[in-house]
Symmetry: C2
Subunit: 598 residues, 2 copies
Amino acid sequence: MTYTAPQKDMLFTLEHVANANQILADIHSEIDFDTIAGVMDEAAKLTQDVIAPLNRLGDLEPSFLKDGKVTTTAGFKNAFDQYTQGGWQGLSHPEDVGGQNLPKLLATACMEMLNSANLSFALCSLLTDGSIEALLTAGSEEQKQLFIPRMISGQWTGSMNLTEPQAGSDLALVRTRAEPQADGTYKVFGTKIFITYGDHDLAENIIHLVLARTPSAPEDIKGISLFIVPKVNVNPDGSLGAPNDVQCLSLEHKLGIKASPTAVLQFGDNGGATGYLIGEENRGLEYMFIMMNAARFAVGIQGLSVMERSYQHALSYARERLQSRPVDGSAREAVAIIHHPDVKRMLLTMKSTIEACRAMAYHAAGLSDIAHHHADAEVRAAALAQYEFMVPLVKGYSTEQSIDVTSLGVQIHGGMGFIEETGAAQYYRDARILPIYEGTTAIQANDLIGRKTLRDGGAVALSFADQIGLTVSELNQSGNASLTAIATSLSAANAAYRSVVAHVLAHTKSNPNNVFAGSVPYLKLAGLTISAWHSARAALAAQAQLDAGNNDGEFMTAKIQTALFYAQHLLPQASAIASSITEGGEAVAQFDVSGFYS
Amino acid sequence: MTYTAPQKDMLFTLEHVANANQILADIHSEIDFDTIAGVMDEAAKLTQDVIAPLNRLGDLEPSFLKDGKVTTTAGFKNAFDQYTQGGWQGLSHPEDVGGQNLPKLLATACMEMLNSANLSFALCSLLTDGSIEALLTAGSEEQKQLFIPRMISGQWTGSMNLTEPQAGSDLALVRTRAEPQADGTYKVFGTKIFITYGDHDLAENIIHLVLARTPSAPEDIKGISLFIVPKVNVNPDGSLGAPNDVQCLSLEHKLGIKASPTAVLQFGDNGGATGYLIGEENRGLEYMFIMMNAARFAVGIQGLSVMERSYQHALSYARERLQSRPVDGSAREAVAIIHHPDVKRMLLTMKSTIEACRAMAYHAAGLSDIAHHHADAEVRAAALAQYEFMVPLVKGYSTEQSIDVTSLGVQIHGGMGFIEETGAAQYYRDARILPIYEGTTAIQANDLIGRKTLRDGGAVALSFADQIGLTVSELNQSGNASLTAIATSLSAANAAYRSVVAHVLAHTKSNPNNVFAGSVPYLKLAGLTISAWHSARAALAAQAQLDAGNNDGEFMTAKIQTALFYAQHLLPQASAIASSITEGGEAVAQFDVSGFYS
């Protein structure tokens, strides 16, 4: 099963939902929309022709560890060379460290393609991006110039070393030690687990970014620093020295993303791994959180990507598989199952969820571009606040939905979906890590409540409700039956969303157990409502195109009907979720855990 | 991770939800409730000590085919011998064919244990049961006496051969041929796929029941007959003759239930496999459907079982894993994650769904006992109609929920859930087949609409709404805050359910595409509402126990709170689902499939 980048929908979404033309005019006047489209076309070719065909092979013949060395799936090294030599790793990074300084809007569309093509392969790039972001945030000028250009060129890659056996979601429990040396370096000792691309053979060196404690550090969350620990020591001129004291002890046997090597790394078993402090001591988590917004957004895109791949696979099968006569008696022979109402319903659930999540993510990417590059500081600040609100939603909502959508992808295949050779099951297995890594959905939801809703008294949260209200008016004024039906559903969801924001604001301090019992439901409600809002905005734009005589009427009509489906089949859950939060918090808070029998 | 049969909840459910005492008094006066409990205790020992420990091993070292022979996982043969020698295969079958004639109520509880212990192992018994049911339904007296006692003793097993490459959900497309011979036997030719335990080494023979067409048969769904085709030919005295012309060509590589051998069987490559007609020609599907009600119910129990196993696994982890301080500031150190609101919410989602599905399934089992054994024909007929309505719900709802619940089981483990060694991922993989085999959820939903709702003008469907109404009154009259809160939610769900039954009755003929777009949502709505009804009945019974001074107050209180959680967190979806059916059917029906881009 191949992959075809859905460029038409991507371009429509960039133009009509993410306001790409306006953003380009404001902050990237050196490029125009055609340039965006041209770059995407190149990304489509590389991901479709080179990277996507390796996806199933990576599942069958994962990376493996032998004699202390990790070998990746055959073909990955060649694909990685093409990817980095094409300049894709530096697409949105600054020019002064070797990047191309292109907008996140474009990078997001390309990232979607890369991840649809091959989640396991894409992770190397995702973690390298994260490491680059951390260095850009807090590294010294010397560190930036030494490491980042070589990470962009593909000579080296990056890895993020946070988790330890006792410290997962709770990084306060990190125990890895970093002892200062007379020359200003540190000796690092400890064990890190779940290190994505913690070892591999795609590049000559790996720049591990490692959370560790210095001897004088406080014992809590405030005593954690961030270090550069290269796999192979690096001389000041960038040439390689001796191997550092870092060993890959093992790779995990995982449910999915099997080609991505997930390493247990041992630092310092032979005298200490040489490390270099990034920024100031004890500020490691702060730097990490800045970087993590980028990584969390990227994992949200992974959710979108795996849904799209699963959808294309199921759609292809549904068009070919003949089974049963239509229920309306319109044919006397078995027809392709795509014509059966329940298969159409499943495909529309997939398609509408994908398009809504894409619209939400691309719109957020546009906010990020404005936040970082707009000339007006107030505009930047407002966009940053909105973007940061969106990160837990893009991450949490898109990845949670990816479980359901890839499950439907299996279901549409019937019994064949359960057979590994078919390939549909791989997406279902791969997707399952997405709501877990880079912060579980519960961690995203805590962030949504704590940093993103309470801290500003709900200002940003409610600003989205206000914007949705404007869209509802616009839909109602259209006089179009589909659009007004969308308005009815969106308006009800928006009221549910408002009621929950009010509930969170009113009760978190006085009754945190009650409110946090609804944290993940709040995230799902917000993600559902805001993604449906963007889906509705897409429908408005499609209707405007039809009214203006756009000659791709089939696409525009399908766009409106897809938004209508999302509004009528998925969005009604908003009220149910709101009720579970506002009415059901006490049922969780008051339940005594001794009542969980087994 | 071990398994502990939840006997306390099972016994509570049998007694207070499934009305076991009344049913035993009416139709099984030879046994009392203590006998039931005693048998369950024996089943618990066997499943916990012998069968459950093989579950993970079966995933790691599945059955395999070599030189034409299938070898099952080490330990399966010994466990199978203990299972069959203990009389478990014949638990609910008639005494005159070697069974024990015990109620389905009891058999269902034991079946739940067996499947929780090991889904893959249990499938051999499930398919043998199905084959026995088919023979009991339509076999000649000679066939029954020749085959069934040996299938109950474990000397032989059974398999069901329906699917062919082009004929999955659509059995009208079956092409396997059966040519009549002068001696009254048939020669069978064809290829069958997805044959569970189609070959194995647990017993000396396999009695394949095979759907095939005779030369004179109509070419449609009305031209299919059912045949016995033994793996090894059987002499009239039951001794074995020469091997029959049946070969196992391959075993599938599956996402889950790996230890269960799923065979491609080739019949008749060397002159024709000897087969024996069951019942009359061209009535094969009719016999198969009677049998399938039993098999579908059993797959519903599999959904319940895998949820329970996944829950126990996650609960155990949540009690041990220390991570993060509580949100209410009640401790300064990391606590077991079971104390975190979102983990409690996930565990309550699992527990409440399991208990509601158990209540629904056991209640249905009681209806089956009444339907088959009550002295009064009218009572039998009424119970049969209700039981048959429940079969697609037990099958469809419990198995769809098992996807979500086993997914939560992974999520509670965080990153460890994605590592196969942890074991949580196996349930997520195993569960994925359950909404597919023995009729996909869409097939169950078609059955629910066509045979179970329309055929009697909604009489049985609405009789459930009436019964729910009575329970709502009872809850409201209790004066208890938890019970009245449950009543509020259940009453709203019941109204939603009534509205959808009315919609189905009114529009299926005139607009089938619209109504069938809501078929699976209707099934989910009915399953959700009726399972919540039984959950509420359990809460009423628990309150009555508390009022009567029952000394297991902790269990009874947890029971009520669990039902409250289900009513407040899951049941509100009922209205959303109803809206998607009644408002959203047109959005699916009118969508032109050319609008599915890729």
